[in-house]
């Protein structure tokens, strides 16, 4: 189910502004890839370009290739909607649908796409997704209450449950813990650890301990200066990046001497 993504020479633009320059990397399946770097260096932009959410912003576009399963996601005739069904996403701030109950939020991927599914199958899917997101025990007695009534950490896990309910091959996470307290963060990190056996996970984080804890590979993004495009400085095994990086800039960043 988990798939490998091969990015080559990807340039990402906002209008005429080149935000991220010539990214090439291979994202391994069944592993967690962390993207780290200072604010504004294009980590989130790059992440959003992986499931074609980048182009939702008016004027935003990319050049280059993102290949999954031998198919270029930006090739002619590829429907961004289909891409997003295979590559799920969790956002920085929990964003459950306020009009829907907990159950409906998890079932949203099915319901909003008007897929026909038997009630019992849908029940199973919701339970499985909520169990997958470590939330089932906390909400099983109040599935019909509004999703916005949960705590922040629970809402974020609800959003993860919603994302995995569409059974994607890849899960993108954009700073999923930045709005959460340490206990909720721990819960989400444990969850990432479990999920990686089934999914390819890419996570953007500002927290370097988090990157070191959860990821197998780490890519360090940096930008030369204000108004210059962001670049991948270095990508390697997480242990190598954090113990013996090959670039001086990486070492400076992770040791806190810069940025």
């Amino acid at each position: 189910m988990a798939k490998l993504i091969d990015v080559s020479d990807l340039n990402i633009y906002y209008g005429d502004f080149l935000a991220v320059e010539s990214v090439s990397m291979t994202i391994e399946p069944r592993a967690v890839t962390a993207l780290i770097g200072p604010s504004g260096c294009g980590k989130s932009t790059f992440l959003r370009s992986l499931n074609r959410m980048h182009e939702v912003i008016p004027g935003a576009h990319v050049q280059g290739k993102v290949v999954m399963d031998g198919q270029d996601l930006y090739g002619a005739g590829v429907d961004p909607v289909t891409v997003r069904r295979h590559i799920g996403m969790v956002f920085q701030r929990p964003n459950p649908f306020p009009t829907m109950s907990i159950y409906e939020n998890v079932a949203a991927g099915v319901r909003l796409n008007a897929k026909r599914m038997k009630k019992s199958d849908l029940d199973d899917l919701v339970e499985k997704s909520l169990r997958g997101a470590n939330l089932w025990a906390e909400v099983k007695d109040r599935l019909n209450r509004p999703g916005s009534g949960l705590s922040g950490g629970q809402q974020q896990r609800l959003c993860i449950a919603r994302a995995i309910a569409i059974q994607p091959s890849v899960l993108l996470m954009d700073e999923p813990c930045s709005a959460l307290d340490p206990i909720s963060t721990l819960a989400v990190e444990d969850l990432i650890e479990q999920l990686k056996s089934e999914y390819t996970i890419v996570i953007v984080t500002h927290n370097m301990q988090q990157a070191a804890r959860v990821s197998d590979k780490t890519a360090f993004f940096n930008l030369a200066g204000v108004g210059k495009p962001g670049k991948v400085v270095e990508m390697d095994d997480t242990t190598t990046i954090f113990s013996n990086p090959s670039q001086k800039a990486t070492e400076d960043y992770i040791s806190g001497r810069f940025g």
Partner: protein, 361 residues
Amino acid sequence: MSTTDTTSGPGSATTTVVPQGMTEKRLPRWAPLAVTAAALVVALLVTLPGKTTVAGVAVITALLAVAGTWLLSLVVEGGRQATDRLVTALVTVAFLIAMVPLVSVVWTVVEQGAARLDADFFTWSMRGVVGEGGGALHAIWGTVLVTVATTIISVPIGLLTAIYLVEYGRGRLARAITFFVDVMTGIPSIVAGLFAIAAFTLILGPRVRFGIIGAVALSVLMIPVVVRSCEEMLKLVPNELREASYALGVPKWRTIVKVVLRTSIGGIATGVTLAVARVTGETAPLLVTVGSTVGTNFDLFSGRMATLPVFSYFSYTQPGVPPEFSIDRAWTAALVLIALVMALNLVARLISYFFAPKAGR
């Protein structure tokens, strides 16, 4: 008080410690009321020798009360509090001034209209009625039918325009639409009526008068209101929800229908109801497009139709002989119209209450 004492431990029974210099002399809570009462007494005494009018006493009372409160506060409490009192008093006076026409209109209409507020008024038309009796059933039906037709025309156009502007519109076309919608909100209602009658005259020839022309005229007035209110409501939907939906692989149109509209439906319904209430009372465009008649006409596509505002207008301006029965009917028609608009506003409140997204644990 007692709770803070118990929690602050032994030996602190007397300590609600306020640092020195932070206590200030304050006027008691009833001071502004007392000043106002005194001002009223003074105003009555001043105007007593001459002719006393309610308006005169009210103006003098207001001026004295504002000035008196400010001076008293300045002496006792100091400058900043005095400014606060002054502005509070001015805001209160402004509110009361705004209430005067509202209360006055409602009071007059209820007083004058209550006389004919009987069962006959809601069961009789004016067919064959001269003088006493008769009712406005035909006008009530006319208003309801024309309003419903207006809503059916305006809401789809207005809502879809708003969706285009918020979700799709970029560049010059969107800016042009926004500009013309703004212009349309300022169109005088009689111009809307003349536009509709001119358009239908061009197509169907002279002397056409029927319900749907009125509905078209009212739509010209209602569409910009619907566009504006729906646009504001759609803009309130956080972009995060749209992105959350896109990220689940939901196409844009489904996102709009099932997430954006679903989230903002309460506000949209409220806006539409208020727009309906706004056009229900329009008189001038209906006068030139729908005309008036004495019998009930259920057919929007042929024949003149009576509506409440036009009925009220004609009953008052052309009462016949003797005039008093017709004038009574005019007041009652106005009362029913106001009640109708108020009911619509209440419905709008209920809708926004029941459809608003709820948070709960």
